[in-house]
Symmetry: C2
Subunit: 254 residues, 2 copies
């Protein structure tokens, strides 16, 4: 985790709200609450929802139900977008007259850049069956599309919110790196010690032709290079080699 | 749309399978079918599902129910992973001993690179409540984590599949560009014609101080530069200016 920039990205994500216009299925509201929570987004704004609060919303929020109380309900779209300095409409359809249509990742980059600069950003989703009206889209500065298969492009509302929340988080956070959790990698001299041991053991076992062991050892070097051995793994492998060495000595004696 | 590389990315996505180990909720299977369909993925493999087929799966697949017949059911994980040359386990938890843990986007890049090189890729998800066992994770070459909020990280299985399917599609397709749908942008000479017309009209209206119109005109140039005017919009704006010009002439006569 890039813990250094956590406060930075949290502050950015706090300036991004998700707005659902006239949601009809309370289950989607609950799933959206959960989707936002997983990605560290704080503000879900509903424009005139058909049913909310609702037990179905609570059920779909599951462990995120504690955030249901923070959901904001507004009577109309202008109230939901109040204070926003950049509004982006999510739309699956291309429209005759619309704000510039951009890819979701470009929209996410734009949203986070605006939030970082101190702006307030809204991402607007339409109602389940018919999506956003042209009038709603034209109240926004951009339109964004989640790239989908041409053959089947119908994302469920909650699934679309999850994808957008993911794209926003990752525009804010960047790729996470887990490199620090690796146990210590093997050093050059540990690897060379392993290869020398391996070659000697394989010669003793008769597997390697003592005359020309090079080709096999080259293959083994290639394999272990790809594996990026850890220090501990070198110890385990050398222990295995020593056990074979020992067993072989026992048999030779007998 | 980058229609040029469509066959290319479809062939890559066809080599990536999503594997659900012991799913217990048929609704999640249906939602996963829909999630895959939206992102152009073709193969969903279930390891010993609790209930499938099931009306709940059909309901959650919605318009994608026609793909339910293609879902593959296998008795155990090895059968589900048969033929795979790269397997990636999705895991929320960090584990003591695990394949290298990478960010989802790195995993998606790796998966698509392997598929493009002719390999077969599997992304493996655990059962709803407890996720993957350590044994299941260790049957894979990589472990991947969907970056989530530290505060609340519990993604629903279907939501996780949707996010992963999205990440895979976008590793294969890249950012989509809708630039070609723009109507023709205004040319330099159209813009200069507009600015000259605007300045003359504003001087006639008395808004511009004829002595020093420069500051206001600079602001307006800045505004219209950001707006990236289209050719048709210049015509509309000049029509508006002409109407004001005309109305002003009428009033002056009166």
């Amino acid at each position: 985790m890039n813990s250094d920039d956590r406060p930075h990205h949290e502050a950015s994500l706090a300036r991004v709200r998700i707005v659902l216009s006239h949601p009809t299925e309370p289950g989607n509201i609950g799933a959206a609450v959960r989707a936002l929570a997983t990605m560290g987004l704080r503000r879900l704004v509903l424009v005139d929802p058909k049913r909310f609060p609702d037990p179905q919303a609570t059920a779909m929020a599951a462990g995120a139900a504690r955030y249901l109380g923070e959901v904001e309900v507004r009577a109309n779209l202008d109230q939901a977008l109040a204070g926003a300095t950049l509004s982006i409409a999510l739309t699956a359809r291309r429209r005759d007259l619309s704000p510039p249509l951009i890819d979701l990742r470009d929209a996410a980059d734009l949203a986070i850049a605006e939030a970082r600069a101190g702006g307030e950003v809204a991402l607007l989703f339409g109602t389940e069956v018919s999506g956003l009206s042209n009038e709603e889209v034209l109240r926004c500065q951009r339109a964004a599309r989640i790239g989908t298969s041409e053959e089947f492009s119908s994302l469920n509302l909650a699934a679309a919110v999850q994808v957008v929340a993911y794209a926003l988080r990752h525009a804010a956070v960047g790729r996470e790196s887990y490199v620090n959790e690796r146990t210590p990698p093997a050093t050059h001299e540990e690897l060379e010690g392993l290869f020398a041991h391996l070659e000697a053991s394989l010669q003793r076992s008769g597997f390697l032709d003592a005359g020309n062991p090079r080709r096999v050892m080259q293959r083994l070097r290639r394999l272990f290079a790809r594996a990026q051995l850890e220090s501990q793994e070198v110890n385990v492998l050398r222990g295995m080699l020593s056990a074979w060495d020992e067993a072989l000595r026992g048999r030779t004696k007998r």
